[in-house]
């Protein structure tokens, strides 16, 4: 088979394996860790629409997680509306907020944009912490909102609560696969192309009449919508939300780190980043925290520094090159004819501004 076919088959195999995993892994702890891993990969992928494709650095993205979580929770607790519906309501709300935030801030240069997103998430956090009742809605300030669990051993799809981990696993995995497909489609669409060009050479793009700003804001709105869905999922998984859990800079930073270490503009970047970073932080916390508290954060900091110094575009590129070499070794027929279109056949290949469309030795930015 050709290289491309091989890569495609690999991808399908991995996806099927992920869906089949709960049949092999029965431990609730490991399923839980995988669920959180997929959740972070999901949130980082939606982050990537702004942070990778639009080329700016949002450091306040958890505000959308918070909006999603609080909206669905309040609707459930006070009005009995199913969290599935609440999820959509929260997502629409988040998209609106994303649009309002994006419009003025996406015109700014990198560091200022980053700072303003931080100010937004902190400002909203302060507001929620100080407000007990917002009109008829109970926000409960810093004490947060508790979702009463259903009776032990029972689950309900309507209430978005399940007795075991498997349903949560499948939900988040489906969300993740869906969002990856969506990102891949966007990257190949007109919008993705314009975002890429806007990132590479904004003046030329503008001269050609491309309204880069409009596409950036659209990307922001889509990203906010999708991120808020994760907020509801998180609320239903942990059954307890409070300002410092969902409206926090820590979460925003972590999403950015995962994407940057994985590779910002690429689709595989968030997954690879999550696969690398989350276990490192979890396991170093588990093994070191009682003897050397805070060590897991030192490790995270060092990893960040080292990766940014030596592979600032992220670890996806070198890893994919290894994958390509494997594919080449297994391919039995020569690659397709040179007339095939230049679009990447595989979602893993980076489409970041300035990045090569096929694997090649690392270039300096022009």
């Amino acid at each position: 088979m050709t290289q491309q076919k091989f890569k495609r088959n690999c991808l399908i195999a991995v996806t099927l394996a992920a869906f089949a995993l709960p049949l092999a892994v029965r431990s609730a702890t490991y399923l839980h860790i995988l669920i959180i891993l997929y959740l972070y990969a999901y949130m980082t992928t939606t982050w990537n629409l702004v942070g990778g494709f639009a080329g700016v650095l949002p450091l306040g993205h958890s505000v959308f997680v918070g909006i999603g979580a609080y909206t669905s929770t309040i609707l459930w607790l006070q009005y009995g509306i199913s969290p599935w519906i609440g999820m959509l309501v929260g997502a629409v709300l988040a998209a609106g907020v994303g649009y309002l935030i994006g419009k003025p801030t996406l015109k700014m240069r990198g560091a200022y944009f980053a700072l303003s997103t931080m100010a937004f998430v902190e400002g909203i956090r302060v507001m929620v912490e100080n407000i007990d009742m917002l009109g008829p809605l109970k926000l409960n300030g810093p004490r947060g909102l508790n979702i009463p669990p259903l009776q032990a051993g029972e689950g309900s799809f309507w209430a978005f609560q399940f007795a075991s981990k498997e349903p949560y696993y499948y939900i988040i995995l489906t969300m993740l696969v869906a969002v990856l497909a969506m990102t891949s489609a966007i990257s190949r669409s007109k919008m993705g192309y314009y975002l890429k060009s806007g990132g590479e050479d904004p003046d030329a793009a503008q001269a050609l009449g491309v309204n880069v700003a409009r596409y950036k804001v659209t990307a922001m709105a889509i990203s906010s919508f999708l991120t808020a869905l994760a907020g509801t999922f998180l609320a239903q998984l942990t059954l307890f939300i409070y300002p410092k859990s969902v409206l926090t800079l820590d979460l925003s930073f972590e999403l950015a780190f995962i994407a940057l270490i994985g590779g910002r503009g690429s689709i595989a970047g968030p997954i690879i980043g999550a696969l690398l970073l989350r276990p490192v932080t979890e396991f170093s916390r588990i093994y070191f925290s009682s003897s050397l508290p805070g060590l897991h954060l030192i490790i995270l900091g060092v990893v960040l520094i080292v990766v940014m110094l030596y592979q600032p575009r992220g670890l996806t590129e070198p890893l994919l090159r290894i994958f390509d070499r494997l594919a080449a070794r297994f391919a039995t027929t020569p690659p397709d004819s040179p007339d095939t279109p230049d679009t990447p056949a595989l979602p893993g290949i980076p489409v970041a501004p300035g990045a090569p469309a096929t694997a090649s030795p690392r270039e300096e930015r022009p």
Partner: protein
């Protein structure tokens, strides 16, 4: 291989296999604590207190009804984050297969992690977290040693009433100043209810951010409100900053009453010095309590770790003894048996019993019905600053008369 080697291997096997059969199982206790992050200081104290207790228990022969089984402590850092706490609780139960869990200091972490333990049927002993609702959910596996926070606030107001009766004079105005988190706002909500029956007028209701860089505006607000009573809920850094700033600006209410936590932190006295004099604080325990073994335990802890035991550390210490006592009575590692033994606890005497009250007994909701609080006053009696138990009157240190009201600055 050579015959002699084979013989040696077989002999070794013959010796170890029976030895393994006779080796007592160890009891695994998982402890969820904030070992890093903003509550790292108290998390470390909880860890130290547990270690000291378990060392003593194991040295005295472990759990005899389980063949001398030793208690093995495992720790998980919650970073004061409920999500991390939940992941760690699941890991303790499913991977580490602990027999018991204790934790988690932050009520916000204890609340969801006890739910996890309840779902799996693993007994969970809460030494410190005060939020009322932890034992109000009808759970069967959750037991708490500390008093509920509604008891703390109730005792604070009873103390104020008793002081007025004992020393005369009236307290007519009160200011509520509290940290803006879960703990502070919870206390404040209860104060607002309790104050209605007290006849005092609320002149200030001010939440503040624990990580404020400057508390002077807050102090000036207090100064202008001129309250008779200043009720505080503070974490350590802000308790220190607030006390120093209050002294600097010569704010002189008749009574300053803290709520434990930051005011009880070991570094509070050294960081504030004379500014902390005459401040009252409500705690579970104090080093001068009139109980056998209390002084020795405190000396030992102090020698090892450099600071006095705090109420929370004592709760952790006695929790280990309560666990050991329950395990002795259960005689098995079956969770249902352990749970039953815990529910039947009536711990009155023993090396761990250095708390102020007479027995640890859990009611149907798992709450220790005897948990009692004490009020201390910080004063210097010539030997440096110390915390002196003043209330209830029966527990007051002999020979000490509380200074009430505070002298004006």
């Amino acid at each position: 291989m050579k015959r002699s080697h084979l013989l040696a291997a077989v002999l070794t096997l013959c010796l170890t296999v029976p030895a393994m059969a006779f080796a007592a199982p160890s009891v695994k206790v998982g402890n969820i604590l904030p070992l890093s992050g903003p509550s790292a200081s108290v998390g470390q104290q909880g860890k130290q207190a547990r270690e000291m207790a378990v060392e003593e228990i194991n040295a005295a022969g472990g759990i005899k009804s389980l063949g001398g089984a030793k208690i093995e402590l495992l720790y998980a850092d919650s970073k004061s984050d409920p999500n991390v706490g939940v992941t760690e609780a699941e890991r303790f139960i499913n991977t580490e297969k602990v027999h018991l869990i204790t934790g988690a200091w932050n009520s916000g972490v204890t609340y969801p992690t006890t739910a996890v333990a309840e779902r799996y049927g693993v007994p969970y002993l809460v030494p410190v977290s005060v939020r009322d609702t932890i034992t109000e959910r009808g759970f069967k596996n959750v037991f708490r040693i500390a008093a509920k926070d509604s008891w703390w606030t109730r005792d604070q107001f009873t103390f104020l009433k008793d002081m007025q009766k004992e020393f005369g004079g009236t307290l007519s105005t009160v200011a509520f100043v509290y940290e803006n988190g879960d703990w502070g706002t919870g206390f404040a909500a209860q104060w607002k209810e309790l104050v209605k029956a007290s006849g005092m007028q609320v002149v200030l209701d001010e939440p503040y951010s624990s990580s404020s860089t400057d508390l002077t505006p807050l102090v000036n607000k207090i100064r202008r409100a001129k309250p008779d009573v200043l009720l505080l809920v503070s974490n350590a850094a802000d308790a220190i900053l607030l006390t120093n700033t209050l002294a600097d600006y010569k704010v002189s209410p008749k009574v300053i009453l803290g709520s434990g936590g930051g005011h009880a932190d070991p570094t509070f006295l050294s960081a504030c010095g004379a500014n902390a004099r005459y401040v009252f604080d409500i705690v579970e325990w104090e080093a001068d309590v009139n109980k056998p073994g209390a002084k020795e335990a405190n000396e030992k802890y102090r020698a090892r770790y450099g600071t006095n035991l705090t109420g929370e550390a004592v709760d952790a210490y006695v929790a280990m003894y309560v666990l050991a006592d329950a395990l002795e009575r259960a005689g098995s590692l079956d969770p249902a048996a352990i749970r039953k033994a815990l529910a039947e606890t009536d711990y009155k005497t023993g090396p761990g019993m250095i708390v102020t009250y007479d027995a640890i007994k859990f009611d149907e909701s798992g709450q220790n019905r005897n948990a009692a609080l004490a009020i201390v006053q910080i004063n210097d009696l010539g030997k440096g600053l110390e915390r002196i138990t003043v209330w209830p009157k029966a527990a007051r240190r002999t020979g000490y008369t509380p200074v009430f009201p505070m002298p004006k600055k």
